[in-house]
């Protein structure tokens, strides 16, 4: 019903008028080749590219600079480092976003590569190496210039025995074979295998480390301990991360915002401020963006609690994708009905997160393929979407939705069918029943634990539980705090993991399905699965240069994953929804085509579109104080980037 309502709404709305707050098309600044005069060791005949000559900025001309936005994040970060022990938690994506990538892509036209930290790039004749020229204006937030040596230093750090971050090393080594400096501002990244051109650019994306900063920091740390400051020069000192964490500082960044560690409060809030004199402020792709001076994230684990904070104006915006929050909590709340805050919904067209029930294939009874398949047949995702989620989410047929040609559209998943589930279970020997209607085999109950972390998922899991019970499968809910739950998942301590993985632009199965990860203590091979066929295909995919062959291999892997029932895909959401108080303003096109996270995303190439209107804030707050209606309830639905059906 809701679906039809929504489509009626969309159909009735007139075609969106062309936005009037767009910047005119901008000229991309010319590259000055004299900055790279000192280059050495480059192969001859390199064809340097520098992206489009003209560009349509996606920020708004009406944006005002300054002000503060308060939002929330679920846990306080374990560290402010983006490498080293305890750095791979949910905060990592924020840290990564604080730095600019070497290259980026236009979020509304993802096929267009844009300069970012680097101004020019060229693909080497070996089809494994990409050459980069750093923008001579690029600066770290501490004022140091970004140099080629910062990129080679990152490589040294990753391979340093004192780094204590084996995952990072493994991921790095499987992708990058070498980073070489070719001058003060030129360097090359050589990948471990040949790849098609678009993937070469994508996978050669790495990150620099402010060498000056780390050198100085380590020297001071040693000096403080009364040691020779030049000991261990260049390499990491032992326990470097403890020195860093104890110092309570943050790394320098190249992006628009930096962590203001002095204003952060442990377990309470993380504060980011605008990088002073940010070097890329005037670039055409940054026009009208990153307007806010300070961004504060309060630590609020629970979405419903966050919404209550939002209602109390302690948060400026709130994530409203969940149906019950969007419809009842926000839609029927005083603030919305009085026109003090508005709801906004933006469609997108982007790779969907792989939300699913990941089955640990080494934990009985899930080690039995028939039980896994039966569980899939007994999982009523469609029913859950229709009832609990009010028809606003859709069942995901397979895990690789929105991945362009790589998406194997023939795979439909196993349908909800109790009879098939029962037949499979009986075949597998689960013939007896206990008093609660749970199947038994040799005195063992068919009771499977499901590991989750978000309270808001409970109604969904319970619906699935009730339906699965019809096939005689009992799901036992195990809730853990978000970080514990994630660690348990990575250690495969549990049976079913209710989790969503965010994928990359290109499908990557090595992390999640290669047998390398199956025996490690911590890995992303959540299903703990080992299959030489998948290994072979993954390795072939890594080496493949032909896009069509790669697509075939990718489809084949997806088929094995489905046949082996490693993941039961759940749902996908082709839009993002939020709410914000009137003083948080958005451009007329509220979001970008590829923004899959949050409309009020602060960082990254799609982020920073909003701005704060202080006058409006005064007006809204006084109206709220006086319980005065400001206007009709406002819901913005922006279908600009709706996926073609």
């Amino acid at each position: 019903m809701i679906n039809t309502l929504l489509s009626c709404l969309l159909a009735a709305a007139p075609a969106p008028a062309a936005p009037t707050d767009l910047f005119p098309v901008q000229e991309v600044p010319q590259v000055k080749p004299q900055a790279y005069a000192d280059e050495t060791g480059l192969p001859s005949g390199l064809k340097w590219e520098s992206g489009p000559q003209q560009l349509q900025p996606w920020g708004s001309t009406e944006a005002k600079k300054g002000g503060k936005l308060v939002s929330f994040l679920p846990t306080y970060p374990k560290s402010f480092r983006h490498f080293g022990p305890a750095s791979n938690d949910s905060f990592r994506s924020y840290l990564d976003n604080l730095n600019l990538a070497q290259l980026s892509s236009d979020p509304n036209h993802p096929e267009i590569t844009l300069p970012s930290l680097c101004q020019q790039w060229a693909i080497g004749p070996d089809r494994k190496t990409v050459y980069f020229r750093i923008d001579p204006e690029a600066r770290w937030s501490d004022g140091n210039p970004v140099l080629a040596s910062d990129f080679t230093y990152a490589q040294e750090l990753v391979h340093d025995p004192d780094l204590e971050h084996p995952d990072l090393l493994a991921g790095w080594d499987s992708n990058i074979s070498d980073i070489k400096s070719h001058g003060r501002l030129s360097f090359s990244v050589t990948l471990s295998s040949e790849k098609p051109a678009d993937e070469l650019l994508y996978y050669s994306g790495t990150w620099p480390v402010d060498r000056e900063f780390w050198m100085k920091f380590q020297r001071e740390a040693l000096k403080k301990d009364g040691k020779n400051p030049n000991e261990n020069f260049g390499a990491l000192i032992k326990d470097w991360h403890k020195y860093f964490d104890d110092a309570g500082i943050a790394e320098p960044v190249t992006g628009p915002y930096m962590i203001d560690s002095a204003k952060c409060e442990k377990m309470r809030k993380v504060v980011f401020t605008k990088t002073p004199n940010w070097w890329a402020e005037k670039k055409p792709w940054n026009l009208g963006r990153y307007n806010v001076e300070t961004i504060e994230y309060k630590v609020i684990e629970d979405l419903e609690v966050a919404f209550r904070f939002f209602q109390g104006t302690e948060l400026d915006c709130c994530f409203l994708t969940m149906p019950e929050i969007w419809r009842e909590k926000a839609g029927e709340s005083e603030g919305f009905l009085n026109g003090w805050f508005y709801r906004v919904m933006a469609f997108n067209d982007v790779q969907q997160p792989m939300i699913g029930m990941y089955l640990n294939t080494r934990s009985a009874p899930l080690d039995d393929l028939q039980v896994r398949r039966a569980l899939w047949h007994a999982t009523d995702v469609e029913g859950m979407c229709k009832t609990v989620l009010r028809g606003e989410y859709a069942r995901m047929p397979h895990i690789l939705m929105g991945y362009r040609q790589y998406d194997n559209k023939e795979l439909k998943g196993l349908p909800f069918n109790i009879d098939s589930a029962v037949a499979l279970l009986e075949e597998a020997g689960w013939n007896q029943m206990d008093i609660h209607g749970v199947r038994m085999k040799n005195g063992k109950r068919l009771s499977i634990e499901i590991n989750y972390s978000q309270k808001t998922h409970v109604p969904r899991i319970l619906y699935i539980r009730q339906q699965a019970l019809k096939a005689g499968i009992e799901l036992v809910l195990k809730k853990y705090e978000a970080t514990t739950s994630f660690n348990k998942t990575r250690r495969r301590q549990g049976q079913i993991f209710w989790i969503g993985w965010q994928g990359n632009y290109f499908p990557d199965f090595r992390d999640g399905y290669h047998s390398d990860g199956a025996y490690q203590y911590e890995s992303n091979n959540t299903s703990n699965y080992e299959d030489p066929r998948i290994d072979k295909l993954i390795e072939a995919m890594d080496l493949e240069k032909d896009s069509a062959a790669k697509t075939r291999q990718c489809h084949e892997i997806q088929k094995i994953i489905q046949d082996q029932a490693l993941v039961i895909p759940l749902y996908y959401v082709p839009y993002i929804r939020s709410g914000a108080w009137n003083w948080v303003k958005l451009p007329q096109v509220v979001s970008t085509k590829t923004n899959g996270d949050e409309i009020f995303e602060a960082f990254g190439i799609s982020g920073g579109l909003f701005w704060i209107d202080e006058e409006e804030k005064k007006k809204t707050l006084s109206a709220r104080e006086a319980k005065q209606k400001l206007g009709e309830p406002k819901t913005i639905i922006d279908p600009t980037w709706k996926m073609a059906e």
């Binding site: 909590k329 009832t387 008093i435 009730q466 019809k470 809910l477 809730k479 514990t484």
Partner: protein, 344 residues
């Protein structure tokens, strides 16, 4: 024949004469009896089905698949559907449903939850479409079993340690006292939350964790009581007759200190119920979908617009806790040592 000691008899008579406590006791006993037999009154399973001349009583026992009654599925019969099916087909088969035909975990999404109180759901439904009355009653069963289990464990630990340290004195007393003092300083709820965040305990596990952090009060009372009783003549007499430590502590001293244990019992039970409710409220209690008051309360606070959620559970909780307190007061009055004991 089982015979009460005169003093106990007098105490019980006294308790009976204290009307407030006595009626509270009767009320709670009825509630307990009702919750034990809840399946007969509130259940998704039918009380009685007559189909093709055969009678069945599905309330207790193995689930009966729908096929048995001519519904085309192999899983447990949906009796409400069966009733409708029989009515529609005009067959002579019959289904008698309990007074409230909703199980505590049954979800009703026919009206978008939470649904207002109606003839269908007397107290409405919660945010997952589950009948609130049903969840209240089954939740009471969970709460009271939890409280009793926890109190049992608490007393086993507390009474044993208290008696031992009071009886032996010297270094045993010293160690248990210090342990108790340290333990008392640990913030109970926080510790339990931290433990449950890493280890998801079941029902018994949770009761055990709670008991481990709440034995100190009763232990210190028991220590003082044992200390006092130890020097009384009857203990000396028992010892001179050759009774061992175990016998003296558990057969002689313990019965004489029982009034303290008994009169603090209701308050401990109330504490147990509140502990579980607060843990559930915070999301660290019993695993879903076990019916729980704390979870209802949490839902209710999240949805103040759906007043019936918070309203029902708050009322139920208040009534139960008040009656337990009344019983406690009555017992304390009845077992008051000033009234029955003579001191030499």
């Amino acid at each position: 024949m089982f015979q009460l000691r005169p003093i106990t008899k007098r105490r019980l008579q006294r308790f009976h004469s204290l009307k407030r406590g006595w009626y509270a006791f009767l009320f709670l006993s009825i509630c307990l009896a009702f919750t034990v037999l809840a399946e007969v009154f509130i259940n998704s399973r039918a009380l009685y089905v007559q189909h093709e001349g055969k009678s069945s009583f599905p309330t207790y026992g193995d689930p009966i698949p729908g096929k048995v009654f001519g519904l085309g599925y192999g899983y447990e019969t949906d009796y409400k559907e069966l009733q409708a099916h029989f009515a529609a087909s005009g067959s002579s088969s019959k289904v008698i449903m309990p007074l409230i035909p909703w199980g505590p975990n049954e979800m009703d999404y026919s009206v978008p939850p939470p649904a207002k109180p109606s003839a269908k759901h007397w107290l409405g439904t919660d945010i997952m479409g589950r009948d609130i009355l049903s969840r209240l009653v089954y939740g009471f069963r969970v709460s009271i079993s939890f409280a009793l289990l926890m109190v049992g464990m608490t007393y086993s630990i507390g009474v044993t340690l208290g008696c031992l340290s009071g009886y032996y004195g010297s270094w045993i007393d010293l160690i248990t006292q210090r342990l108790q003092e340290i333990w008392m300083c640990l913030p109970f709820l926080f510790i339990v939350i931290i433990i449950t965040a890493f280890w998801s305990p079941g029902f018994v596990g949770l009761a055990f964790i709670c008991a481990i952090f709440s034995w100190m009060g009763i232990a210190s009372t028991m220590r003082a009581m044992t200390f006092k009783e130890k020097s009384r003549e009857y203990v000396t007499a028992a010892r001179s007759l050759g009774a061992g430590t175990g016998r003296i502590v558990f057969r002689h001293i313990l019965p004489n200190t029982l009034s303290i244990v008994i009169s603090s019992l209701p308050f401990q039970v109330a504490g147990g119920i509140s502990a579980l409710t607060s843990l559930d409220f915070l999301g660290y209690g019993v695993p879903p979908p076990m019916p729980s008051w704390g979870e209802l309360m949490e839902q209710g606070l999240g949805r103040l617009d759906a007043w019936w959620i918070l309203g029902s559970v708050a009322t139920a909780m208040t009534i139960i806790l008040i009656s337990i307190t009344f019983i406690g007061e009555g017992l304390r009055e009845a077992f008051d040592p000033k009234r029955h004991s003579t001191y030499d």
